[in-house]
């Protein structure tokens, strides 16, 4: 059994850990509120963008001549996966969930005999994938210095992806991120952005015909690169809200566990203190009796 002193030390150390996790939880809660707000504010832009593209692609006359970002390169050999993770740890299963989802996708690609290339956004994903897929990672982008997800960062990522696409380095591009459902649930998502999936949703389609200026093709080729940045920005916003949510619930759990541990240790400490007193009493009494 540990001595009284040891127990005392352990109790204080667990208590200070609890203080830290509690503080981190509060910080995450405050940040979550902001991240959620900006995710909500960013929604109209990406929705409108999607609408416009939907309208455009449905009215485009010559499907074979459509820009490559929309129709693809015609091949389906080289896959680029953009894995979006956080730069900081201590957020529960947040990063692990994305990595798990990505890894199962990788093995599926491997089975189909396709070539794989990886771009990681955020340092945690890079750390976890380095060992198994180090040779596949072609770029690692990290935004440690920017406080919040912002559009310029997203544009940077978008531009590198488009540059690589134009050099024909890959045929299909998929981004992996966590979709924010609520504070405790984040759903890892795989979304294909090149070639673009235009859902054939007839309800959304308007029968109204648009006038285009300049023509459809030119607008589309101008719009599609922007859409990629927008999609990435949306993923970044969702990701940062998810990260804070995951961190908040992880830290909440940690605080609770620390509390339980303190209770257990305190009971043990009191018991052994009592035992020591009883032992001393017995010693004194038996000493007095023997006289």
């Amino acid at each position: 059994m540990a001595s009284l002193d040891d127990l005392k030390k352990r109790i204080t150390s667990v208590k200070s850990t609890q203080k830290i996790t509690k503080a981190m939880k509060m910080v995450a809660a405050a940040k979550l509120k902001r991240a959620q707000e900006s995710a909500e504010k960013g929604r109209p832009y990406s929705e409108k963008m999607n609408n416009v593209i939907l309208n455009l692609s449905s009215s485009i006359s010559d499907k074979n001549n459509a820009p490559k970002l929309l129709s693809g390169t015609g091949n389906n050999k080289i896959h680029l996966c953009v894995i979006m993770t956080s730069d900081r740890g201590l957020c529960g299963g947040f990063n692990a969930n994305i990595i798990k989802k990505a890894k199962s996708y990788f093995s599926k690609l491997k089975k189909e005999g396709k070539q794989l290339k990886i771009v990681t956004v955020g340092s945690k994903g890079n750390d976890q994938l380095k060992r198994a897929y180090g040779d596949k990672i072609i770029e690692n982008i990290s935004f440690k210095n920017s406080k919040n997800a912002n559009y310029f960062d997203a544009e940077k990522v978008g531009k590198t992806i488009i540059e690589r696409f134009e050099k024909e380095e890959f045929d299909v591009c998929t981004i992996f991120y966590n979709r924010f459902k609520n504070v405790i649930t984040q759903v890892p998502q795989a979304q294909q952005i090149i070639p673009l999936h235009t859902e054939n949703n007839d309800e959304n389609k308007s029968d109204e015909s648009y006038e285009f200026e300049p023509d459809e093709d030119e607008i589309l080729s101008n719009l599609l690169p922007k859409n990629i940045s927008t999609q990435i920005f949306k993923a970044m916003l969702e990701n940062s809200a998810s990260e804070q949510g995951a961190r908040m619930s992880a830290m909440d759990n940690a605080t609770r566990n620390a509390g339980e541990m303190v209770d257990k240790l305190t009971i043990e400490y009191n018991r052994s203190r009592q035992a020591a007193i009883t032992k001393e009493l017995i010693e004194i009494i038996s000493g007095a009796e023997s006289l």
Binding site: Y45, K48, V52, L56, F212, P214, I219, L223, F233
Partner: protein
């Protein structure tokens, strides 16, 4: 019958402006300025650097944009842009900063004709409001 329609300007990170008493909007579309009144035909176009002018009952607003897309449909005008500044709020040194960036960009050799044209436009507009 009123001659008003709705305009909404959205940024990637927030809704920038929303107004429903607009009578006329002039946007710098890629092939020249377009004036939009109520019941304009549905149109999609993209913008070059320039000034968006919004006329409403309450007065006139001017915004500097660098790029974007406009969509007009059933008397709703949506402007999607990642870079927009209200001419009233934009500071002189911000204009100068943008101007400097544009001039640096144009001095690079590898720009193609279209981007060169766009940057030229940008410089012209920035000089005119400076």
């Amino acid at each position: 019958m009123s001659e008003e329609f709705k305009i909404e300007i959205v940024n990637p990170d927030k809704s920038f402006l929303s107004k429903d008493d607009v009578t006329e909007v002039i946007v710098p579309a890629f092939e020249g300025e377009i004036g939009i009144l109520k019941d304009h035909i549905s149109i999609i176009s993209f913008l070059k650097p320039g000034i968006i002018k919004i006329y409403s009952q309450t007065g006139e607003d001017k915004f500097y944009v660098e790029d974007g897309i406009i969509e007009f449909k059933s008397n709703n005008l949506s402007v999607l842009t990642s870079s927009i500044y209200n001419l009233k709020d934009i500071k002189k040194n911000k204009i100068q900063e943008l101007l400097k960036m544009a001039e640096e960009e144009i001095s690079k050799t590898e720009v193609n004709d279209q981007t060169k044209y766009l940057i030229d436009q940008k410089i012209d507009v920035l000089r005119s409001i400076n």
